[in-house]
């Protein structure tokens, strides 16, 4: 099976106050159709940059970003993106936010309403469909953002630390809901996080990245069955993988000296 998402030696250089630095150095990773991968690593490892390149929001300065066999030329509705800061349009109600992408896709009002209603129900915001984002809690805002992304029916979800700003309890609930939806609708998911637990709990494979320059460090498969449960989260098998990822993230060896600077 050919890869759904394929990073082929993808690099990204940024210029900052005259100096340039390498945010991402020749990343090569393939993500299969329907797979759930998490990207984890210390800050500055380029995990968010990699996600933004896949989203088409920034261009790689080297290598090829391939999605569905085609080079990425910009953002597109087949790749839904969920941002850490929710990025809801504050002047639109929950329903209008969810309908935003459908409106751009040229769907008729009745269709928009039906689709939006389905996803608002799915994320449990039916009572807040006509509320403005300012009255929602952080978790509700992110659920609204998820409904908005799902509504345009993307085959890929790119999530950039989506639960990073939520409290621990809400975060666990959101993780379970995400896995529940994913197991039913099987989208390909790339999920960036700095939480090792979250990375292991969600993923088929954990992609560990290293910093300065941002690069691939290791890929650790998570051979645990879905649905993932609290029992699994507390199991020895989970702890073992978790420890392996932890060591990969926090005890990274320094880079080979030939690539220093």
């Amino acid at each position: 099976m050919s890869a759904k998402i394929s990073f082929q030696n993808v690099s990204r250089q940024f210029a900052h106050h005259g100096a340039s630095f390498l945010a991402l150095d020749r990343l090569s990773v393939d993500v299969a159709d329907g797979e759930f991968v998490t990207l984890v690593g210390p800050s500055g490892c380029g995990k968010s940059t990699a996600l933004a390149i896949a989203a088409g929001l920034i261009k790689p300065t080297g290598g090829e970003m391939i999605v569905d066999g085609q080079a990425v030329r910009g953002p597109g509705p087949e790749r839904g993106v969920i941002f850490q800061q929710y990025a809801l349009f504050p002047w639109l109600t929950v329903r209008q936010n969810v309908e935003f992408g459908l409106r751009i896709a040229g769907k008729r009002a009745s269709q928009r309403w039906a689709i939006a209603q389905r996803f608002i129900d799915l994320v449990g915001l039916a009572d807040f469909a006509d509320s403005l984002p300012k009255v929602l809690s952080g978790g509700m805002k992110q659920r609204c953002a998820i409904a908005r992304a799902y509504a345009v029916d993307p085959s890929i979800l790119l999530m950039d630390e989506p639960f990073g700003a939520l409290d621990a309890l809400t975060r666990v609930q959101m993780q379970d809901q995400l896995l529940d939806t994913w197991s039913r609708e099987r989208r390909t998911v790339m999920f960036v996080t700095h939480e090792v637990d979250e990375a292991v709990y969600l993923a088929n494979r954990v992609i560990v990245m290293a910093a300065r320059p941002g690069r691939l460090y290791d890929i650790i498969p998570v051979d645990l069955p879905y649905p993932r449960t609290e029992a699994l989260r507390l199991s020895g098998a989970f702890a073992e993988i978790r420890n392996r990822v932890w060591r990969a993230v926090y005890h990274q060896q320094a880079r080979r000296p030939d690539n220093a600077a």
Partner: protein, 265 residues
């Protein structure tokens, strides 16, 4: 969410109480100010008209309809100049915020003319446009345009990039992003600019009428000055203040209504 409903119920009553208290304090302050004015006049040290004299003159001027005529001609100039200024400022501000080329070309002029008080342009405007309505409307236009254009431009520049990215990943192109993201996101800035613009337009019209006009509140004061008619000057000043305040409140109400989606601290 029940917690937010409960949370908003308690502050609502205390908020209403605070508002009432503020209003009471405002009224006390205004009455105190008038009493102070009456006391100063009663001491006879300064040749000012008393509040009662001013009130009498105000009634006279309202009865004769003169104040209404003056007021309408001042308001007409402000309305024309302000509408033209804002109508031009919004597209120009968007151009400046959205296209760096437009910004590079327009910004030096805007920044330069912003430093010149619109009133300083009056001599030039009179020489080139004559003594009709045109020069007055032009300086008001300039005053309103310059304050609104900067605010609009700032609003566009400050639009949250994440919101633009969120629209792009949902399939939006430039025109849609401008219409559905940039315009609503910069509305609060534009409205603040309009309020500042209206304040400066109102200040400018009165001053312009003092210099060159055959009607208007400024003209009436200039006439009264010739006859040492202080009561009429006072009535005009108070009218200018009340009207300015009323227009500002009107825009503030519009602003509150259009930007109620904002999260306020």
């Amino acid at each position: 969410m029940s917690e937010s409903a409960e949370a908003s119920a308690a502050p609502a009553t205390s908020w209403r109480w605070v508002r009432r208290r503020q209003l009471a304090l405002n009224i006390v302050a205004v009455c105190g100010g008038i009493a102070l004015w009456a006391a100063v006049v009663a001491l006879g040290k300064v040749g000012l008209p008393s509040p009662a004299q001013v009130l009498m003159r105000a009634i006279e001027l309202i009865r004769s309809g003169q104040i209404l005529t003056d007021l309408l001609s001042s308001l007409g100039r402000v309305a024309a100049g302000f509408a033209l200024g804002v109508a031009l400022a919004i597209p120009v501000g968007f151009l400046m915020g959205w296209y760096s080329t437009a910004r590079g070309l327009i910004e030096p002029f805007v920044q330069f003319f912003r430093m010149i008080p619109p009133l300083a342009v009056i001599p030039l405007a009179i020489v080139t446009m004559g003594i009709g309505e045109a020069p007055k409307v032009f300086v008001i236009f300039l005053a309103a345009f310059l304050s609104s254009v900067i605010a609009t431009f700032q609003g566009v520049v400050n639009v949250d990039k994440t919101l633009i990215n969120a629209a792009r990943v949902l399939g939006a192109r430039d025109a849609t992003i401008l219409r559905r993201v940039v315009i609503p996101a910069s509305t609060p800035y534009i409205l603040v600019g309009m309020r500042i613009g209206l304040g400066s337009a109102w200040a400018t019209v009165v001053a312009a009428e003092l210099i060159a006009a055959q009607s208007g509140l400024g003209f009436r004061m200039q006439q009264a000055e010739l006859y040492y008619d202080l009561a009429t000057i006072f009535v005009s000043l108070i009218t200018i203040g009340i009207l300015g305040l009323a227009m500002d409140r009107l825009l503030l109400a519009l602003e509150t209504r259009l930007t109620q989606w904002q999260e306020r601290m």
